[in-house]
Amino acid sequence: MSLETSSKNNGLMDKRSNRISVLAPVSEVDRFREYRRMWATFRKSYSSMAGLFIVATFLILAAVGPSIVPFPEDALGSIHLERKLQPPDATHWFGTDEVGMDIYSRVVVGARTTLWIGVTITGIAILIGVPLGLLAGFGNIWVRESIMRVTDVFLSIPGLILAIAIVGALGPGILNAMIALSLVWWPGYVRLVQSKVLSIRNETYVEAARSIGASDFRIIFLHILPNCMSPIVVKASMDMGMAILGAASLGFLGLGAQPPYPEWGAMISIGKNYLPDWWWYTLFPGLAIYFTVLGFNLLGDGLRDMLDPKQRS
């Protein structure tokens, strides 16, 4: 089909009124070509698929966890001193803790807490960071400087240390730990989005959008933001892992979730007192954190490869 020469034959000089009837029907399948191609890129990488598998397993556990575990009541703290600190066996796959709670049940139920923590922290960080980044990238010099300097102040303090200070002020607890981590997490998004906006706002297609009369609002949300999406998505999936690790660290320090709340970091925190003889107490929550963080990182890597425009030409 010679598309390049068709204007000569049928383009301009034709009566426009009778052209519509002969237009080919638009196929719906055509719409998903782009996604199929992305999926093909993603599937080629074993590590991305492994990441996807781990994350999918984690999400399923988070969804159905309490209804598939053998001792659901143990997740919320019940005391069975007659079976405390038992090693892993057929009944208690991951062993039991110092008050006889089933560690397998607690790890599986803890997935939901962990997902909640990861999504909330990353979500709040995106909700604060992305709009500020867009504003800093698109606004005038005063807006940009004031936003970026505040961001720099936050970035110059190690996140976890600042989070510890904030939790210290608010008081220990899972909710305060999440608030603290959200507050230290957003500056990364501001930096990322701002630098991306600065490069995109000079693209010809933004100028073209302006020349057809697009408003600033339209330019930001339809032309600039979609083109910033891939680094944001990649960073978000990596941050899920990092936020989970951060919350687990606060839990480990005793500043996050409080026992008997089923949170992996808090479990390790108590379990460390029982090392090395009762190793299963820390090992299984530790492995859960390890695989979840690894899964989100692999997924993030895969998403980056998939969303990279250079892959798609």
């Binding site: 089909m1 598309l3 390049e4 020469t5 068709s6 204007s7 000569k8 049928n10 383009g11 301009l12 000089m13 426009r16 052209r19 519509i20 237009l23 080919a24 638009v26 196929s27 055509d30 719409r31 070509r33 782009e34 693209e203 010809t204 297609y205 100028e207 073209a208 959008a209 302006r210 020349s211 057809i212 009369g213 697009a214 408003s215 339209r218 339809l222 032309h223 979609p226 083109n227 999406m229 425009p309 798609r312 030409s313």
Partner: protein
């Protein structure tokens, strides 16, 4: 259709004021294609962008279809945005990579009209068809298209609002020669079909200007040095710069290439333009004590005009 009066576009930089466009006056009559030529850095693209208010105008004014749009803001810009459209040099970067062709072409309609849904798709398909692209392209992304197809999409987007004025900023220079010819052919057909369509064709390709344009304006360092009908300027260039430009066009006959005027040196810095006539440091016929001191005035040459002391003297 379009009048630029004493248009100046200056950019403040660390090294000083860049006079990208310095006191330019141009008039485009309805139906006319004006070719704006000059070497890289002469400010020709800046004229195009300033005309559409994509750049801030330092002084002077822009009158489009009898309406002064120099300082229009907000809804006041709407006449400019619907009457005048721009087609950019590089079609690979002028289309949003995250939007389908259908959405790109429909965007002006979404902004300026209330057409939505099925009618929007229909209208978009019709416009694509006018530029010679089948409606299957509606759901393609720009990276799936060739350079020529992308430029057609860009043209389709510009034609969506039925503009009377097109600013064509080197629309063919990023394309293959064979595709260039198709785009030029298409632009010519477009003008033949719509008598009111007026174009400012920015180019450094003189052959293309000769093929497409009715009038030509030659720019040097932010100023217009010669302007006139294409036939007159090409057969009888008056300004030494125009002569040099025209002589640089390769000729098919080998022996005639000897008469080529070679320009020495580069375009001077627009931060610190030469005194007098900006072209005098590179001009082979410059008169010392006159060309380097006094800026030349316009000399009327019938339907053409040029800015050079030598012509001034001849005229007297």
């Amino acid at each position: 259709m379009l009048t630029l009066n004493n248009l100046c576009v200056h950019f403040p930089t660390k090294n000083g004021l860049v006079r990208a466009v310095d006191d330019i006056s141009l008039t485009l009559h309805p139906g006319e294609i004006l070719g704006l030529v000059g070497e890289s850095g002469s400010g020709k693209s800046t004229v195009g962008k300033a005309t559409l208010r994509l750049l801030d105008v330092t002084s002077g004014n822009i009158v489009l279809d009898g309406e002064d749009v120099t300082h229009a803001t907000g809804s006041g810009l709407k006449p400019l945005r619907t009457k005048a459209q721009m087609i950019f040099q590089d079609p690979h970067s002028s289309l949003n990579p995250r939007m389908t062709v259908g959405r790109i072409v429909a965007e002006p309609l979404v902004i300026h009209t209330k057409i939505r849904g099925h009618r929007l798709t229909e209208t978009t398909a019709k416009i694509l068809d006018r530029v010679g692209l089948p409606s299957q392209f509606l759901h393609r992304y720009p990276h799936e298209l060739s350079g020529g197809q992308k430029q057609r999409v860009a043209i389709a987007r510009a034609l969506t609002v039925d503009p009377d004025m097109l600013i064509l900023d080197e629309p063919t220079s990023a394309l293959d020669v064979s595709v260039q010819a198709q785009i030029l052919e298409f632009l010519k057909e477009l003008h033949a079909e719509r008598p009111r369509m007026t174009s400012l064709f920015i180019s450094h390709n003189l052959a293309v200007v000769r093929y497409l344009c009715h009038r030509i304006a030659v720019m040097y360092l932010g100023k217009i040095v010669e302007e006139g009908p294409v036939a007159a300027v090409f057969s009888n260039p008056c300004h030494p710069y125009t002569k040099a430009l025209l002589s640089a066009v390769p000729l098919p006959q080998a022996e005639q290439n000897d008469s080529r005027i070679r320009l020495e040196g580069d375009l001077p810095s627009p931060v610190n333009p030469p005194t007098g006539c900006a072209f005098h440091p590179r001009c082979q016929v410059a008169v010392a004590g006159k060309c380097d001191v006094e800026p030349p005035n316009w000399v009327d040459l019938g339907n053409a005009r040029a800015r050079c002391h030598l012509i001034e003297e001849q005229a007297e």
